[in-house]
Amino acid sequence: MYIDLSHGSGGKQTSSLIHDIFLKHFDNETLNKLEDAAVLDIGGRIAYTTDSFVVTPMFFRGGNIGKLAVCGTVNDLSMMGAKPKYLTAGFIIEAGTDMNQLDQIAQTMKEAALEAGVKIVAGDTKVIEGSGNVYINTSGIGEILKEGVSIQNCRPKDAILLSGNLGEHHAAIMSGRMGIENTISSDCAPLSSIVADLLKNGIDVHCMRDATRGGLATVLNEVSESSHCRVEIDETSIPISREVKGFCDILGLDPLYMANEGKMIAVVPGEQAEAALAAMQQNKYGENARIIGDITEGAGVYMTTALHGRRIIDILYGEGLPRIC
């Protein structure tokens, strides 16, 4: 069965699509009412965000667009020190989409939402002409657990932690696009539990960021600019799997600039660095966490290379395209 334009008509087929795929998977009391809007209980301060997902290919090793759509928004909320509570999901579906694929996407979203402890409480579908692609927008609300977590809040003597290996999502997607056979799997994952672990252990987190598009380099530059400080990192402390490193060497890519979907940095007071590291490493998504550097007075992002040379780490310009020689 494939999606055709009648599934966007608003009539019987639209209703079937919603019931047979989305309600089946997202099943919860609020959504099941099919009201025009979800009515929610929210106490205290909230974090609120939205993100759209247009990835090609839709399915890749380690996940699919649905998992990204849930994790992306969950992670954005988590990075603000919030506990993600509710998501909405808007689907723009091209005619020609395979119903089974759509079902798989919804199934994955359910699983990711369950793991992250969020409910998908409202949604929308639109069908457009096309050739079988799906685009998803999610928005989310989270309850603030810790106030003051901010990109502007990094201070000299803070330590910078990275939750694990770089570049795996980017490499998995590129492998899919290029038809390269390897075992690199996307790191796509909800980071809400790592954040909960940090806060539970009393870490006074100053700033958190997930290192998505633009990679670690871009996030660290944002830290430097917003907090008016210098970021110093050590190349030898940055975890990169051998397989991703090999992939990057062949294609002329730099893991520092590659997208991740389940990696974050946490900037914490220097004296809490070890405690924060221990908390991260106990979480299954932070086993490979490292302390990668610290914040000092000044500006810019600097790296001490493995050869003890110095290198400036600038933001990404344009798209990270492979070199030709």
């Binding site: 050869l307 040379g309 400036i312 310009y317 344009g318 070199r323 030709i324 020689c325």
Partner: protein, 351 residues
């Protein structure tokens, strides 16, 4: 056995006359920055990036031709990503796509075969740019095109070769003291070719790999040669580079291509410095000869002086002001391999 620490110390403590070393491989340029090599060595050892980026030395008229082809009905240009942002005299391929032209970015030229077979009503043109490293793959592509009788896939070539460019630099820029010979190109052409250059121009030519340690070792070898008045070819990348190179790849090149004079963006015409399809294969050519061409260099742009090692990018009046990666004026700013692009990304670091 000499240690890395000793090499670094010798390079750092050098305090003799200034030595200018040119590298002619974009991957070397990139590795020098990534490893912070400049911060490790004496300021008396200056590293200069030569004409080692194929995208950067491709003339603007070539980009114009790609833009024209991509805009034609039922035509599509296939290209590596680097080429997308290079401005011709009017626009880049990225801008052409925004205006409705058809361009697809590929990672391997061989993907073009599948694409051409899937849509036989479109005339595909592959933007065949590169040095000896990439040219054999275009030969393999032509083998496939012939074998599978594909009629809707041609090449627009801008294929340069390295040795004439090195000779040109040696003839015209007496101030370069030594060369870090390219890694990838040497895998194909072998290292014997540099022996003649080393003797003729009395300059050390050292072939190096791409890791920071490889480059430091090569710089140290050059330093030792200069200190003792020698000028030899040394191959420090013997795992990958042999004396004669990859003969199979060379024979693929020779099967399809022959030498021609060609224009290098920013430099001018260099005799027998490029490859074109042999006459018997002209049916695969999408119109690659640009005889009446005259390169218009944008006002103020000093890419020529950068490529020839006369100045470092920050000495160009346009660098980081009018010319940035997001709005590149000169070709050296466009590519990730381009000297100016690499310097811009690392600006503020020790040059």
């Amino acid at each position: 056995m000499i240690t890395l620490e000793r090499i670094v110390r010798e390079l750092r403590d050098y305090d003799g006359e200034e030595i200018k070393i040119m590298e002619v491989c974009g991957t070397h340029t990139s590795s020098i920055f990534k490893n912070g090599i400049r911060s490790l060595i004496s300021p008396k050892i200056r590293l200069i990036s030569g004409p080692g980026c194929p995208v950067c030395v491709t003339p603007s008229v070539y980009v114009d031709k790609l833009v024209d082809i991509a805009g034609q009905e039922r035509h599509c240009v296939l290209t590596f990503g680097d080429m997308m942002k290079v401005k011709g005299s009017r626009m880049s391929l990225t801008e052409a796509v925004a205006a409705g032209a058809r361009v697809r970015v590929l990672y391997s030229p061989l993907d073009a075969v599948k694409i051409a077979l899937e849509d036989k009503n479109t005339q595909y043109v592959f933007a065949a740019v590169g040095f000896e490293t990439t040219t054999p793959v275009y030969g393999v592509l032509l083998d496939e095109i012939t074998k599978r009788e594909i009629h809707n896939l041609k090449l627009l070539t801008s294929l340069k070769i390295m040795v004439p460019a090195l000779s040109y630099v040696c003839e015209n820029e007496k101030n370069i003291d030594a060369f870090l010979a390219p890694g990838h190109v040497s895998v194909i052409i072998g290292c014997d070719v540099y022996k003649e250059l080393a003797q003729k121009y009395k300059k050390p030519f050292v072939v190096a790999g791409f890791e920071g340690e490889h480059i430091l070792a090569a710089l140290y070898e050059i330093l030792c040669q200069i200190k003792s008045g020698r000028h030899e070819m040394r191959n420090l990348y013997p795992n990958a580079v042999t004396e004669k190179g990859n003969l199979a790849a060379q024979s693929v090149i020779q099967k399809y291509f022959e030498l021609k004079d060609d224009s290098w963006r920013g430099i001018g015409t260099i005799e027998k410095s490029a490859l074109k399809l042999k006459p018997e294969y002209s049916k695969f050519d999408a119109g690659s000869s640009f005889d009446e061409f005259e390169e218009k260099i944008p006002a103020g742009c000093r890419c020529r002086d950068v490529i020839l090692g006369r100045i470092n990018p920050p000495e160009c009046p346009l660098f980081s002001g009018a010319c940035t990666p997001l709005n590149a004026v000169g070709p050296c700013m466009v590519s990730t391999e381009g000297v100016c692009g690499i310097w811009y990304k690392n600006r503020g670091g020790k040059g």
